[in-house]
Symmetry: D3
Subunit: 284 residues, 6 copies
């Protein structure tokens, strides 16, 4: 069962949405609208998909609209995580024309980018749906957008790795080098992690894997391994902890990787290389 | 002559860079580093390109590093706008290992995204270098990132349309409809615009163009026109104002569009559909 | 036709209005009201003009009231840009007495200052109404108040120069000196400005004017010239670009300057030397 | 003895100075400087007075410069509170030309406005220097600028009334009406005020004064009274509390008011009707 | 008569409440609720006291709830300053289950801490209710919480010393040392304080007291004196100014101190050593 | 081995420290210091413990000092987590007297509160040092202070539960009720949690425990159980997941609870009922 994420809380959305509106309205507001639209003009506008994909970002878009004008009504026809087809109406706004036109670009910029991420994620997720593996995004997100982008990945059927440096421990080569060995690094991590904080360690070889396993990490990141080696690693891990594949995995290779039996496959491209999905505003 | 943009002022970079660092450090900071790296450890790290492209975003990346730790030195070998080749060292950092590891991901996220935009822009710019046309980005930017993304476009050899709703007037179909006619809309725009504010109007047909021209807009956006029609429009405009082509222009079609004689070609994809360029941190 | 500016968007007003309320309420709120007004007390209060002038700042004042208490109703009888006569009711507020008393001073401070600017502007604008020239304000605004003060100038019948350093290019003597010549400076400006960004250059002599004109600036600022010299300069410019007069122009001299045929006259005093218009709150 | 105020702490200046720089630099920074000034160019610039007056605002100006570029040195020749004569050098800056030009307008806007307030205050203060009375400013300040404007008044030889609604109790007619009587209002104020919070009450008549005095307010605001009535009121108060005159007092009337024996004279015009003092930047 | 403080204005509460919600919701919001509670689920929840005490903090708690979801209704049965008994219902919330569960912990954290302070204060206040002395809190508050904690003290029957460094002058030993003598320090304080700013000075001996009194401070802080010495000091002061006792006063000693005749007794423990009162959320 | 936490990153400390300084300096800064301390005066001051305890909060205190004046040097003699004895010098500051006096109270307020938490934690940790159990704090922290308080718990030898609602799943009775059963709730949690997010469930009875265990939560919170029942539960869990005891555990009962074999014991009192440790500033 996939549980779609509810809208992010306003307190989480607020900083990035305010920044977005501020940069678009600048110091003087919408000059064109001020010059050409009479204050009392009312409008009904449809947000429509122009392409096929998965919707994400309506929480941020709706928050932007509210910050511009709380009196505009927004009726959402498709929920985040829902399928978009070309021409489908996503939502209908009605209210003061000036407010809708002022909010339009910020709303579409959130929807386009985040639906792009959800859509890309869904293609990866579908490609491995016949396996138990899940595709996960990384910390390679747009600066300031981690919360909304990770939610978009979830809307597309993926899930998330760490949200930041503070919610899990991920020991990489530099950390191991600084500690002197995998054993010491994992020991220190267990000493430090505390309650409800998972520990994952990156390994490049089966020898490293063998050193790591007895120290009971919650997950092992198998970095840049061939499918054969991944399969072997999964066999060695044997359910003692989670197995994650990582490193240059593409849409073309993800199914093969998933079939090795890993639990998670992390793909930075979900967030750093998604392109915007085309959505537009049609005014009736 | 192309003048490369200097770093954005700290006061412009500050909000988005602080948001980025805050989201990565969360409430508890870098748990892994805290657990495994002794406070006194020093490091020398190279930021290296993994692919060919154009660099952008070192101003934001450097600001992030400064906010993490002012004592880390950053020696930049390639300036924003410079050519990246696989393996090339972009910059060398030296200082406390903990600080460099904490700043790493935020720095790379800025550099990857913004260099991706600069690189994509440069391919479009190169494709029309034999014409007088310039490629320009739009307001279809990542929310909150307009300043840094528009600068990245400039690093790639493009230039910029409006930065927001307040620094130029752009009259679109909805504005015309609300006013009743192109003539009235342009008249109102001239009345309202004031000093040093340009006025552009979007037209879809040559009839609209003919109606607009006598009202002396500073620029006309020729939307979704065929090359033949663009050429005709350019002939009609005849230097009375700037001519901008827009609407679904791709890398494959941009040269043909540029050869019609337009002054500017706006391409939303420069910012909404660039994928990150791969850069990494190598620790010596 | 003069189009009066609609209220600034909430996202533009918010930072300066919050700063204003915070500084007045401090850490403990309104001690006097807390001590003397029972929570349930209701009030009807009139904002009244005490002098003749032009109203501006109701958008900021209304935003302040909303931030204090959304349940207070505000009925506006005179719109920004409207004429004030002594005793005229500008707006009527009704709701909790405590809220109205808390918001009072911040509202009046915005209204007084901004109506003062609108009123001063209108006297300058009226003095040149028989010419085509328009009076424009400069960047000599109260720090943090540029958006509201420039809007107040517009309410008074003036218009605006640049809003900041980023929305137009204005080349002054120091820039020319750094480039070596007017020609080089304008050339670099054209190379750098990009789409929809106007270029203006300051000249002090007719020789400089002659050097500048062929490089097609959008506007020329004729600085500190006598009326005779201005008239001569306007003749030379001959409609090739906008002509702006600037430098120590006062209410006494503005008509003479306007009659030289310049398009714009910039007057720093509109914002840096306006005094507050007297408005007050009358409680029924 | 007059003790001049030291610079306001950075934490107090920061919000308003950041707001000011942000609004001037907008999204793209200083386009003109970017286009025309080579990054390495160095500059020495003098801030000079163009008129006679009293300096204020160097703390805010210096903070703005620091936020733009910490490497610019600022050597201050005249301290806040010092006398300015036309042509006098206030301070000398040396460092990167780009940084100085970027900070110039924000610095001058603070200095001009605040020196204007200090200068106006000094004329009022001088007019009553032969009496024991002191001139004080009110809460009729520019929204967001209370801290810097009240300091400017102090630089000019004035002092300050309440800084906000929370640092003293000032009972006006509406509060009295809500309580039913002066006695009840003062009683409630004493009950509520707590430690180290002064209580002042506004009275319009000698009857009100007689009612107020036995309830031991710390100060009485004698509103809109004639000099004769003020003198009588001062006689009645007889040092039992502070006596403050208020209401439409101008430069022409302040000496007469001061000679009635009041302790303080509050003048809203010090802040709401000061015009900027002319200071400029001269580049060597 | 004790006047209970009304809720703090939203503009005062906003920064600390937003900080609190942001830290609890982090980047991803409430994962548990997202996973387990259907969006449409409604809830009625009671905030109940688990212990005896005095309520404080409902203004901050209600503000938190509003920021999470304005549609949740909050019916308050006990007002701040009211008596809590175990099991008593403080307030009833009804609305979306998700919103109530998200706001719960932040609300209870404010209520628990602030009611703890109010409750502790009330025990001190009750212990001296037979005297004219009042117990006052100090600046030893939780960083960022001064406004809410000082209001909690007031809810508990105490009152407040200075709110910060800027609303009264308190001369301590270091200041006296820097000035050279009590006389000079008080003289400088009077010269500098201005209108409506009280001056208090700390003295450790009766000799210091004798030196201070003629310089007319508004209050004298009698630091670390024995009850006998306090009584003597009160006799010397003889109503010329306020007398405040301070320094290591505990619940056990406060009555004795109060009986010496001092006006105020300051106790840092009211804020720095209160423990939370137990309140909980019961869902029907 | 206990790894003491390094200072929190500046970006984490900044919001709460700025809020703290702003509330203490208000609008006008430190009036007393302004009046009595000459600007050039230098000072050497010792932060000293007045009681026995464990130090925490020097990172926040040092950040406050830096924000006040970067030129004050701070030499730290005892690190956070170190033992304090009465009279011990914690740190020595030297620099401008005004800056040190301005920062003093904010620094001490952080140090006092956070050392109080560390000290209380250490007493609990010591009481169970003979067992494998660790004492952990909860989300019952001071609003806005979670990062600094949870670090203080760590300095005292405790560790931390969730930092917020988003970094782990904790299923309580209301969530179970909403889902219908423990099984469904855990199933949904697993479906939703994603990578590196732990799942804990609260159980009150052994029957609930039996229902929960097969669904493989990472941890089980054994709420309000007697020592006997806890021991039985630990036997049933048998290392399949972490066992946490919770609910009204005090200093008197914690050892008994720890001896039942649980892994973690959560104690809200560590943060909600710690009292400040006494530290002071001694000026030489």
């Amino acid at each position: 069962m996939t549980i779609l994420p509810p809208p992010l809380p306003a307190i989480v959305l607020d900083p990035i949405v305010r920044l977005a509106l501020s940069e678009d309205l600048g110091r003087a507001g919408d000059l064109t609208t001020d010059a050409t639209i009479e204050p009392g003009t009312q409008l009904v506008a449809h947000i429509r998909a122009r392409k096929t994909g998965i919707l994400a970002g309506m929480d941020a878009a709706a928050h932007a609209l509210r910050l511009v004008d709380e009196t505009v009504t927004l009726k959402q026809d498709i929920a985040d995580g829902g399928l978009l087809t070309p021409g489908a109406t996503v939502a209908v706004m009605s209210g003061p024309a000036r407010s809708i036109l002022i909010a339009e670009r910020t709303m579409l910029n959130f929807l386009g980018r985040l639906s792009g991420i959800a859509t890309l994620t869904s293609t990866y997720a579908n490609a491995i749906a016949h396996t138990k593996a899940k595709v996960v995004c990384t910390r390679k997100t747009t600066p300031g957008h981690r919360a909304v982008e990770k939610r978009a990945v979830r809307c597309g059927g993926g899930t998330s790795h760490r949200y930041g440096l503070d919610d899990a421990i991920l020991i990489k080569d530099n950390h191991i080098a600084a500690c002197g060995s995998i054993s010491v690094a994992l020991q220190r991590a267990h000493d430090y992690a505390g309650h409800l904080r998972m520990i994952e360690i990156e390994v490049d070889t089966l020898a490293q894997l063998a050193e790591a396993l007895p120290h009971k990490p919650h997950a092992i990141l198998l970095d840049n391994m061939s499918p054969g080696m991944l399969r072997e690693a999964v066999g060695i891990i044997a359910g003692q902890c989670l197995a994650e594949a990582s490193g240059g995995i593409t849409f073309d290779t993800i199914a093969t990787v998933a079939e090795t039996g890993v639990d998670y496959i992390s793909v930075g491209a979900l967030t750093h290389s998604a392109i915007a999905l085309d959505l537009g505003l049609d005014i009736l």
